[in-house]
């Protein structure tokens, strides 16, 4: 009996050691599902790790939750896409610096048959108004993510108060929302990166793109040392600076899916 107990204890200790055996330098980065789902991090993180010896552990959540993780001191660095929210975050003292890193754009996705005739719209406002007028099914993220916040601004821009049977708030990430839209033959707004890398399109196709208001800016935030002194500010600063350096910007531009560039570096 005692022997078995010793064996069990030894096993538990060994497993505990195995589980905590990650001694290298690392930071925890809170970022969005769009950057993770597109495969961007798989492409650029090894390059940063090689240059700096710092591993980046990505927790991919919606922008709203990413801000909350940073506010509570659970992430060392932030890479999100809600410029207005990011500036507020700096004003409120949670971050000390914000930098533009890259951009892509939002696109409107819909069923091939295009029941609301979005394809003939000339502006994003016209496109959104057409969907509302036709009361064609539209699936919204509804999760306070950067994409969700941008979508709500675009409805406002079109003079539409979205609601009613045709407007479905899903409360899920970009990928699950696209899965649902594919199953419902609904319209949906997506960031281009997630759409291009998405594998379950069924009847969905790109129906509108190219308006300036669909611009989607990503920013990196340096978090406040004062609010959370325990964070790895030194390592996080290296990451932040690498992203906006020539090397980092080139790594972002080099990331392609099916030959298509998904993020366009624009650090100043």
């Amino acid at each position: 009996m005692k022997k078995t107990l010793n064996l069990v204890l030894a096993g538990v200790t060994a497993m505990g050691l195995a589980l905590s055996a990650h001694a290298e330098d690392y930071i925890t980065l809170a970022s969005t599902t769009s950057t993770e789902n597109s495969g961007l991090f798989d492409s650029i993180l090894p390059k940063f790790e090689e240059a700096s010896g710092i591993a980046v552990r990505v927790v991919a959540v919606g922008t709203g939750q990413a801000f909350e993780l940073a506010r509570r001191g659970d992430a060392d660095s932030l890479l999100v896409h809600d410029t207005a929210g990011e500036k507020r975050f700096v004003e409120n003292g949670y971050a000390t610096e914000r930098a533009d890193v890259m951009y892509n754009d939002f696109v409107l996705i819909g069923p091939e048959s295009d029941p609301a005739d979005v394809r003939s719209a000339k502006t994003a406002a016209e496109a959104f108004a057409a969907i509302a007028n036709a009361e064609a099914p539209f699936t919204s993220r509804g999760d306070d993510s950067g994409t969700n916040r941008a979508e709500l601004r675009l409805w406002e821009n079109a003079g539409v108060e979205p609601g009613g049977d045709w407007y479905r708030e899903l409360g899920s990430g970009m990928g699950p929302t696209l899965n649902t839209a594919a199953a419902m033959d609904a319209y949906v707004m997506s960031d281009r990166a997630t759409w291009v890398a998405f594998g379950n399109r069924q009847n969905l196709t790109l129906v509108f793109e190219g308006d300036d208001v669909l611009f989607n800016q990503y920013g990196s935030l340096l978090l406040s040392e004062e609010k959370h002194p325990h964070l790895k500010h030194g390592l996080a600063t290296k990451w932040h600076n690498w992203l906006i350096s020539e090397d980092g910007q080139r790594a972002i531009a080099d990331f392609k899916v099916n030959g298509e560039q998904l993020f366009f570096p624009n650090a100043k």
Partner: protein
């Protein structure tokens, strides 16, 4: 062929992909360790509730039974708030580590092990009571005897706990963060691949997970049968 989930599952299994192997190993380590810790705490707890009479005992039994249905995402949220830097145990820096996932799964599995072992021990106590009384045994002495004699039933209870741990995704997603190479397990990998629209790969991973769970259950069944036959 590439769009067939069974084909994907088979090629995943036979390619012995290093990333997949790591994910599978982490899933097993986290869930087995959680079940082990929950058993060390939960079996004596269940047996104690069965053996002793104390005020509020009915309430404890109802709570244990009810907590068997605790939604994983609620367990995850509670453990997240506890381990978050702004929370009471934030200093430990446990959030987004496999250790945090083990804690969350212990919270999920403990009520199952305690509630079901309480039930089993209480049944056996009914059968053994006269014998215990004639031997003049104390309650504390009865506990190991009852737990040992209930071992075959408790093995099934352990498997129920392991099933709960290996199947849940809400808790490990929230406290682990699904970090590639660090806290990604089978269930969170399935959620990620579904999000990317890689449905055949997601289902393929699901089939791999199911296969593992079946193997573990078969192993436990065989161990149980062998010992049962040997001890009669």
């Amino acid at each position: 062929m590439e769009n067939n989930a069974f084909y994907v599952a088979l090629s995943l299994l036979f390619s012995l992909d290093a990333a997949l192997f790591q994910i599978v190993m982490l899933s097993l380590q986290v869930s087995l360790l959680a079940v082990l810790i929950a058993a060390v705490l939960g079996f004596p707890l269940g047996a104690a509730v069965a053996l002793w009479r104390f005020p509020g005992r009915g309430g404890v039994i109802v709570m244990l039974n009810a907590l068997m249905g605790l939604p994983p995402v609620v367990a995850g949220l509670m453990v997240y708030l506890l381990l978050s830097r702004a929370g009471p145990l934030g200093e430990l820096g446990f959030l987004f580590t496999p250790g945090a996932m083990v804690i969350a799964q212990v919270v999920l599995v403990l009520p199952i092990l305690a509630a079901l072992s309480r039930q089993k021990v209480e049944e056996m106590l009914g059968e053994y009571r006269e014998q215990f009384v004639s031997l003049g045994m104390s309650r504390a002495r009865m506990m190991p005897t009852l737990l040992w004699d209930a071992r075959f039933a408790l093995l099934t209870v352990l498997l129920a706990g392991f099933g709960r741990a290996s199947a849940e995704v809400g808790a490990v997603m929230m406290v682990g963060g699904n970090i590639d190479g660090v806290t990604r397990v089978m269930t969170t990998a399935i959620v990620l691949e579904t999000g990317k629209g890689n449905l055949p790969l997601a289902l393929g991973l699901g089939i791999v997970l199911l296969t593992l769970v079946i193997l573990i259950n078969a192993g436990a069944y065989m161990v149980g049968e062998l010992t049962r036959r040997r001890t009669g």
